[in-house]
């Protein structure tokens, strides 16, 4: 588990931060909403995703 965490998860995290991606919308924003529109095709109930 430690190997996966420190050699896979953590580097991906650094790369994401360098690229400026705010994955979980953690940053405060100056827009007038935090709602996220739900778009895209509806997920089928057959699927687990």
């Amino acid at each position: 588990m430690s190997i996966i965490f420190f050699f896979v998860v953590t580097p991906i995290s650094f790369v994401m931060k360098i690229l400026g991606k705010d994955m979980l919308n953690l940053k405060r924003n100056n827009n007038n909403t935090y709602w996220v529109e739900k778009s895209g095709p509806k997920s089928k109930m057959k699927n687990q995703f």
Binding site: F5, F6, M16, M45
Partner: protein, 645 residues
Amino acid sequence: MVTANYNSPYDVWRPDYSYTGFCSSTIYLHNFLVKSILGISAFYHDSAATILIDGKIIAAAQEERFTRIKHDPSYPHNAINFVLNYSKLKLSEVDQIIFFEKPFLKFERLLETYVAFAPKGFKSFCKAIPIWIKEKLFQKKLLFNKLTEHDENFKDQDKIFFSEHHLSHAASAFFPSPFEEAIVLTSDGVGEWATTTVAIGKGKDLQIKKEINFPHSLGLLYSAFTYYTGFKVNSGEYKLMGLAPYGVPKFESIIKDNLIDIKTDGSFRLNQDFFNYATGLTMTDNKFHDLFGQNPRDSKKDKITQFHMDIASSIQKVTEEIIVKLAKSLKNEYGLKNLCLAGGVALNCVANGKLLKEKIFNNIWIQPAAGDAGGSLGAALAFWHLNQNKERVISNTDDMQGSYLGPEYSQKEIEEKLTSIGAKFKIIDEKSLLDKTAEDLSKGNAIGWFQGRMEFGPRALGGRSIIGDPRSSSMQKNLNLKVKYRESFRPFAPSVLSDDVSDWFNIDVDSPYMLVVANIKDSKKIKMTDDQKKLFGIEKLNIKKSEIPAVTHVDYSARIQTVNEKTNPKYFRLIKMFKKKTGCPVIVNTSFNVRGEPIVNTPENAFNCFMGTELDNLAIGNCYLDKKEQNSNLKKNYSRNFELD
């Protein structure tokens, strides 16, 4: 011989099986045109199962009631067996089985969270990932294996479907409601990604329009404060809510300036610098503790102080502000006059009461099983209407049947069980039972009331209730200390005849599921003296606030259940009898269990709770029991049996 019985709930030929209380005298023949759906929620908290037949809710129950483990998250083997038996179906005969959420999406959220926060979260990663791989990535296989234990002829994995968590909540809120169209707001800790969603329901259609995603969550915010004040997460939130009126919201601006950014439309963002729940093993971190100046309360050693009451008051006020802002902006945006609510946050009945008072919407309907147990119901309904495209049949009450969807026991079963465990009881007809119970209530007795089908959802609604006289000043203290063995600040709630509710409380709508709080009418209040007005915190507890002090909280509020004759005739008649004797159409209704234990399910559970507490009487079916007549060897001490939740 086979005959049709079109009075049965699902238009099939049905057997005579007196043990469930069904009164059908026809012989069963499985109707192949009947469509049955089994909904399941499991593996996080409050596992449950629901069965629909031709889109009608037939039975639903939470696993905890069978295993006696509160909020039991494990696969709901017993609940599934119950709903199948009740419907006289074998699992292989069920057409579809639907799980309430999508495990792969949940797993994806977990991974992305660790990526977002790394290198923080190492400990939690090591602990969580192996479990989640097993439970989430292989959930379909896991479910299938468990399902085969019910019926060796069940072999078809293709019958298993997966709803989405918040769609399940939204469906549980909209489809049973009496509305043709409505705005549906769901809010909880977290599902797969979403924590808060808005959907529009119209006829048989339901579409989620927008959402707020993890880690920004009203449910997790409230749970963080639940943890901080020393109550258990995912079960103690309602205690935080009950504590709030003892305090003042002096930390409100600290919360709004530091922890949460709330937009005008009510949407919000939580500052993760102060929370640990994303990747840690606790809810709050040291920055949070420094902000308020204290560490989290250790419930084993630390008492609840004025500080905790003020914290509770502050977070309750912020939560209410968010919910009201959300409601107002959604009304402006979508213009519909009906609102439906579900998700764990919808159990915050004080916030619901504020919402009602604001009169933003003409009508509000809240799913009684608003938490994850209701996800089993919602998933099944979502499948029926959205996947199978079936029309809704909308009634002008709702489809929940009073939420009396669980097991019931025949008079014969009750008598046999009570006899086998050594209980001493009288068998009396219903009229005498109502008379005796009402009489003993008026004398101040605490009575266990076990009648009909068990409730689905966290509230007891006169199926499995402990009842008392609300006019008694000592009832709240006695019930807390001698019957429920719980914290003495906890208020009790009233059941009131629906026709009389507006004479006693500031509410003019039905509240059949105890999900709304309203104040007692001014005419029923007792004015405080100047000295009493100066009291703070827990000292307020002992002031007699109204003519029905046992159900009046320190701020004059009450969590109301309106009782309708059609929905629960026996309970209605009992309260009517009590009104006849006393002039008061209100009784105390608290759930039939001791602290930390799930609500009782079987006659044996009921007798054990009766003998393990200082309940005076037990009215179970047509059997009436007096504590004084029982064998004292059967007495148990339940005061320390279950951990406080």
